[in-house]
Symmetry: D2
């Protein structure tokens, strides 16, 4: 059994990690930390875990975490980078669900996250944990930067088009819609039910931290610079991201459906729907799945990709478990075989 620790388990990615790891056949949860909830039973904070997780939150403590085989950071940005060096040195593998190791340039990180990076020397080693792109590197990684939720949905949608070189790389548009859990479990007026239920809005149009992450990932895939307009929206639901992606075709003869189906034929967690489909976020509720559909309206020059994930699973905790499976040589789907809850 792999001994797993979670740092910062009181947010939504934390409780989702707990749900997945508690049912994982090869994992033993040994440590879960939270400064604020120290001493509290996990199942008191999250009653869905009653009878399933018999741990209490403890104060963060690197000595304790060193006894783990793998440590997941489900913390705010800027936390994981404080403890990661010492854990790696102790032979513990680290999977960061926050943004600390996602960007390869320390200065770009500082620009978007507002603080200097604590261990820029690790940025080159950290592997960006999108298995559909970096599977082999993840298998041997000590440190995985788990992708953001929007970046996962957007990259998986653009990937086949960029790899095949069939779109104009300079004019991508990602119009993305997220459920409110993406904003975290934080005491903020702006995400109260009374504020965001029965309403819809865009946010962060002038600039969102996921933009450089997406741009970096797409550029790596394309092998050349990619320009992107990224507009996130808040939609009145708990879980789910729907990315509607637009690009201009430079090759009008490409069979888009075949392109997508072939690219993802061997991927256990990417599902290309039949032509003319419209994936619903509920079809991936609670599961580590991305469902895609590709359209070419009026047979014009614009390709439209519809990409849905559960932001807390394929967009966070599930992908982290997928990465752990790869890092430890387990079957990639271990502990991730649930079926989406519908309705």
């Amino acid at each position: 059994m792999i001994k797993a620790g979670i740092v910062g388990g009181t947010g939504y990615t934390g409780v989702e990690l707990l749900r997945l790891l508690a049912a994982h056949p090869n994992v033993e949860l040994t440590v879960i930390t939270s400064r604020g909830e120290k001493g509290v039973q996990v199942s008191q904070l999250f009653p869905n875990l009653r009878g399933r997780v018999d741990l209490a939150f403890v104060e963060p403590d690197d000595a304790l975490l060193k006894s783990c085989d793998v440590v997941f950071f489900a913390t705010p940005n800027g936390t994981a980078m404080q403890s990661t060096p010492v854990l790696l040195e102790a032979g513990v593998k680290v999977i960061d669900l926050a943004a600390d190791f996602r960007l390869r340039q320390a200065d770009e990180w500082e620009q978007w996250y507002g603080i200097p990076h604590a261990c820029p020397e690790l940025l080159a080693e950290a592997v960006y944990g999108l298995p559909e792109v970096n599977r082999r590197a993840i298998q041997t990684a000590r440190l995985v930067a788990n992708p953001g939720c929007y970046p996962t949905a957007v990259q998986l949608g653009f990937l086949p088009l960029l790899e095949a070189g069939v779109i104009d790389r300079q004019s991508l548009i990602a119009d993305a819609k997220s459920g409110v859990s993406g904003a975290g479990r934080k005491a903020e007026v702006g995400i109260l039910l009374s504020e965001v239920s029965d309403s819809f809005k865009a946010y962060g149009v002038p600039g969102h931290r996921h933009l450089p992450e997406i741009r970096q990932g797409l550029t790596a895939v394309a092998g050349q610079p990619v320009e992107l307009v990224f507009v996130p929206h808040l939609t009145p639901m708990i879980r789910g991201i729907h990315a509607t992606l637009y690009a201009t075709l430079v090759d009008s003869d490409v069979d888009l459906q075949a392109l997508f189906e072939q690219r993802y034929a061997a991927e256990p967690f990417v599902d290309v729907l039949p032509p003319k489909s419209h994936p619903e976020t509920r079809s991936v509720r609670g599961v580590n799945q991305c469902r895609l559909a590709v359209h070419r309206p009026q047979n014009g020059k614009t390709v439209v990709v519809l990409s849905v994930i559960d932001n807390l699973v394929k967009g966070a905790a599930g992908q982290a478990v997928q990465n752990m499976n790869l890092m430890f040589g387990l079957p990639e789907t271990a502990g991730l075989e649930g079926i989406a809850l519908l309705p």
Copy 2:
């Protein structure tokens, strides 16, 4: 492997049965019928099952169903009773998720459901499938009447009080609130999102079909007639029932918390929360669990029990699988170990 068939798999209890049975370690889904969707892949109607259920709906056909070890009826009321006699005769076990075999008196059934009963001779044999009351009988039953969703939540809440004889049996009140999936997957204006979202209402106050079922069950438990006022409400959520139960104590010295904890100590699917708790329906979302809390406000004469279930799981498909497990000598929790999705 147990060969399982589902009749009428296009409703919400049907798709939930599919989700549970597709992941059940001891079950092979062999037949699923639907007159309306004949020929359609199950996963086309319910995309959460893509890659997990590789069956198409077929026309209902008793010959085909006879090849099953167990047949679940997830049909409208009045359907199961047409085919049950022939299936039982063929040695197939039957679990009816509708109401056909819930009431023991054929005339009462006819009064509430508006049509004569097709096989009243089976009513005495049918076992009411509430394992917390009838576990032993279920183990040897050929025919199980799976309880209604409201009746499950209400009976589990009143059970310890009636068995212990500590409340006045003549003045029970069950104020119950259900998510909209309880109304089924039917083309009706009254359950459109635009009609029932962001609103709340009672319904069926003059009389609801679950009333005689609850009364019969409680009377059986108490050994004496029980009188009940039952008021169901529609609440703007998909899944979940919250029953708020009121009774007048006749024994003021009873330790209510201990009474509940002891009654359910050995039950795998009933969870008594600590004193002063308020269970949330989301804590059982997607799982076969009933969570209960018992209160005595202002230390007065009224006991208040809060009981939550997922109407589609412990209130329908999950309880049906629990009953199947009992009928076939499997571990009672087989295939029912999921953890509730929260948030």
Copy 3:
């Protein structure tokens, strides 16, 4: 024009008062205070008021408030009682939407609200602002204690029964369900969309501050002590309260429908629905209306009253405007003629 000031206009009752007063034909909004938002345009915080309210929040300041004819307190409990004496002395009428003047006994207030009362000498003078009970007293009041949201829905439902003496006063039950806006516009995890959407729960079962207020009001109406069990619930919607009320009939011959219709025949804001009706909260969304239905299930001894209001209107800001209309000799319905938004 009546010069109106609002203290604490950044919560939901505040913005609702602004919406109503901005459209009131006899009112000029002159002051709105908020310590936290000082200097901010009201319409920046609440964009629905763009082009309609051209005021900025100012620091609370009694001198400024003394220039008003009426001051509304839409503040947390314990605030209004600090400034009310000086305002009354200056000839300003005061309507408190919080709880400071609702309870007649200072010690009871201190017990439930946890701080000593700042001006207990005003408790006797303050008029409880439920026009359907205290219309005449409100017309001449200097100080009105605007009722709580739950107390409004519950009292209007029990009123005809207690006045007529047809129920047992010792065993009332109020099972009430509220939208989330009732919890206010506060940065609290417990009322995030991701926490309370698609879920249902009771809260405060051991004791809720509205209990003594309801008990006091019902006792005043009955002329004798009334005992009540009050169980509030949180339902996943923004606005609306649905109170389901239970009482035991002591007079079995009473015509309940006639009793309710006669009691409220002259009331502009109480609407008794036809027999067998089930009022929906959306039918009063945004309006100063209480809609009621009365049932006697199975013709038994229990009467069931269904009572719906919009917690922010008839349960708060609308009732405050209704009280203001009465205090200033305006038509009671002035500024309150809107039609509920449905769907």
Copy 4:
């Protein structure tokens, strides 16, 4: 008083028209028809209208409708065109809220709506009722084609850019999100709460009937052909449309904020928000308003416009009343002064 009739008043645009017209100072509602609900009191179907609308539905009857000054058609597509000629001949003005008179080419209408047009000779006379474009023509029109909900939100957002000629007309993208009431009050499984709540999806990507309407309107404004990709989505809320619009700037020096503010400075129902704003649909809930914000992310070549309306008001019934006001020489804002309900 203007005598107004409504044909087909049982849908959501119908009840919204009723709400607005019942409170309109210059209108008397005289006839409301519905084949299905003939004889039923309007306020029985829509309880928000109790005490405000004292009419019963009658069988559709042109003779009766001829007694009106204006008739609104809130009917399915293909209905208004049957009765419009005879009403116009009788001197009745007609406002069609469906699509019968929106497209100027009968063959294009037939192509998208699947039936031949019943009175193609009226298409040239019909005025497309977008007052911000066609105010003068509406004032003298006998027949107004009220715009669709998506087309209203999309056209108002692109209008200033196309009129000023600052964008590439060949690559517009409209990513639009609608509340579920936009799908109407129809008994369809696909819009049940249990199907579309807590989920998000695109629909109609291969082609949606609002596409030719938008294209026609934008082409008229631009004076040259406009090409557009239009992707509608269903978002789990009742009311509201949020259109996120993308275009490529051909003039990099244009002051976008000034352009929008100047274009709409005199418009009573279009509100341009300050720079960096993100309009929320709730800010227009229940009111005849379009709120816009214009962005240029990363100062790049793509302009992003955010446009919100209430699909039932500025997107349907409210715009119809605005058109009526213009047609009858009333103040354009008569009966449309409500303030949006927030929260």
